[in-house]
């Protein structure tokens, strides 16, 4: 059974149809990249998958059950990490928040927090406040907090969009490693085409202003590049270049 399925999901916002009926399925352990021009509804689609938004038509199901709201099985990483972290708590405290919300007894929290910190490589910064950390580190704290939830699904909304190129690349590789280790299923929204191909097992391209002839779901493409991926050789792989060429116009460049 697919871990996540979109059954003719339609979303209307402000009187407009943002997403025309969209149908696709996600298997467990897959990394799905979602791309599209501004306003195509990729963030809205992600939020519907996380349960923040109720579709105007159709439904999203997880493990066969229709989603009615957020759940601990689904973790969400926001782009604006500065606003998603608690500035008055240390790194440890921020991660602890996930455990407190889940009702984990105080005695068990410390061990789980340090495990998750090890995973993202922030063990040395446990006692620092978010404002003392760089953007990349703050985003890692947010990811760590999501991992502390021990979720099945990781939703990521342009998580590296606000970071500089170098930080972005190192976080991309860390994310790939992490996801393999934990066996997570990931939906990753980005406007960066290369990032989408580099990270994903499949790339979903969305269109904006959908019409019946040109629905929201423009293409679902398999990324045939093998793992493990690396910033230099993968980007010179012929399949990478071919996918990049094929998907380019889906970003609305014409």
């Amino acid at each position: 059974m697919p871990i996540l399925s979109f059954n003719d999901v339609t979303i209307h916002l402000g009187g407009r149809e943002i997403l025309s009926p969209t149908r696709f399925e996600v298997e467990k352990g897959e990394f799905i990249s979602i791309i599209g021009p501004s306003g195509c509804g990729k963030t809205t689609l992600l939020r519907a998958a996380a349960g923040f938004v109720t579709p105007s038509g159709g439904s999203v199901s997880r493990q066969g059950k229709v989603i009615t709201g957020p759940s601990r099985e689904v973790a969400f990483v926001f782009q604006d990490y500065g606003r998603a972290l608690l500035p008055w708590r240390t790194v440890e405290g921020n991660i602890s928040l996930a455990l407190e919300a889940a009702g984990v007894p105080a005695g068990q929290r410390a061990a789980r927090i340090s495990k998750v910190l090890e995973t993202v490589g922030l063990a040395a910064h446990a006692g620092k406040f978010p404002t003392q950390l760089s953007g990349g580190m703050q985003q890692r704290v947010q990811i760590a907090r999501c991992l502390a939830q021990e979720p099945e699904l990781l939703m990521m909304d342009e998580p590296f969009g606000a970071l500089d190129a170098m930080t972005r690349e190192s976080l991309q590789d860390e994310l790939l490693r992490l996801v393999r280790e934990q066996g997570l299923t990931v939906l990753f929204v980005t406007h960066d085409l290369e990032e989408a191909i580099y990270l994903g097992d499949r790339v979903i391209a969305l269109r904006s202003n959908p019409t019946p002839q040109q629905p929201s779901l423009a293409a679902v493409i398999d990324v045939t590049i093998p793992h493990p991926r690396d910033q230099l050789s993968t980007k010179e792989h012929p399949d990478f270049l071919r996918l990049r060429r094929d998907l380019y116009h889906y970003l609305g460049h014409d």
Binding site: F52, A75, A84, A101, Q149
Partner: protein, 256 residues
């Protein structure tokens, strides 16, 4: 940067010198009677009144009375202000219905409540305490409402994603997020409570520095008047400084 400490020290010294110059001007003005001695006592006379009042206990008693009134009223005001402010601030519906009324009460002088309070309580200490508490509640309440209303919307979503209960959200996210506003409101509240305490003492003849200063004016005892004003200034300064210190400690995360 070895030059920095020296510059800072000269800054302090210069500042003190300017202050002493002002004191010297006062000394000159009072001794030369540029202003009548009835209105402007000499610095020495003021100091003497201060010493006398403190040693024979009169000014000490008055100060303690005023401080107690101010503190008790402020504590009550903070308690109710934060509780009510949290309830109103956290609910968008409550804010929509109640905020206009709150905005109307905001500019109302707290002392204008005094005649009504006198009608209800009479001219006594409870009346003053009521007005102090009521009057100084509004800065805290309004600040708390603002603090809870401006919690990052993103954090609300984070809490939803983590399936956090509403109570936990209020305690662990909304309250700490509102803390800077609440503490600033409490500091403003303290200034207000001092003022209303003094006003109340003047009107209702309650023992305290307010009454002492008023009596000194009525008996044309300028040095006692000035001594009382000095003490009130000192109380205002100390209260504000202590709260500012507490605020800095509690909000250490803002400047780690």
């Amino acid at each position: 940067m070895n030059a920095r400490p020296r510059i800072q020290a000269t800054g302090v010294v210069e500042s003190l010198l300017v202050f002493l110059a002002i004191m010297a001007l006062w000394w000159l003005a009072s001794h030369q009677e540029w202003v009548s001695k009835v209105f402007l006592p000499t610095p020495e006379a003021t100091l003497a009144s201060l010493k006398e009042g403190l040693s024979d206990g009169a000014l000490v008693g008055n100060s303690v009375d005023t401080i107690n009134r101010m503190l008790l009223g402020w504590l009550l005001a903070s308690l109710f202000g934060i509780a009510l402010g949290a309830m109103i601030g956290i609910s968008a519906t409550a804010r929509a219905w109640l905020q206009p009324t709150l905005e109307f009460i905001r500019p109302l002088p707290a002392s204008a409540i005094m005649p009504l309070a006198i009608s209800i309580f009479g001219l006594n200490a409870s009346m003053v305490l009521f007005v102090v508490a009521f009057g100084s509640m509004w800065p805290v309440l309004l600040a708390t409402v603002h603090g809870f209303a401006t919690v990052q919307p993103r954090l609300r979503e984070v809490a939803d994603a983590l399936q956090m209960s509403r109570t936990m959200f209020s305690w662990k996210i909304a309250l700490p997020s509102a803390m800077p506003d609440i503490l600033a409101g409490m500091r403003l509240s303290m200034t207000v409570s001092l003022i209303i305490a003094v006003v109340g003492e003047m009107i209702a003849s309650q023992s305290g520095l307010g009454q002492a200063v008023l009596l000194a004016a009525r008996s044309f005892r300028a040095s006692e008047l000035f001594a009382g004003v000095v003490l009130l200034g000192a109380i205002g300064f100390a209260a504000n400084a202590l709260l500012a210190l507490a605020e800095r400690k509690l909000l250490r995360w803002q400047r780690p």
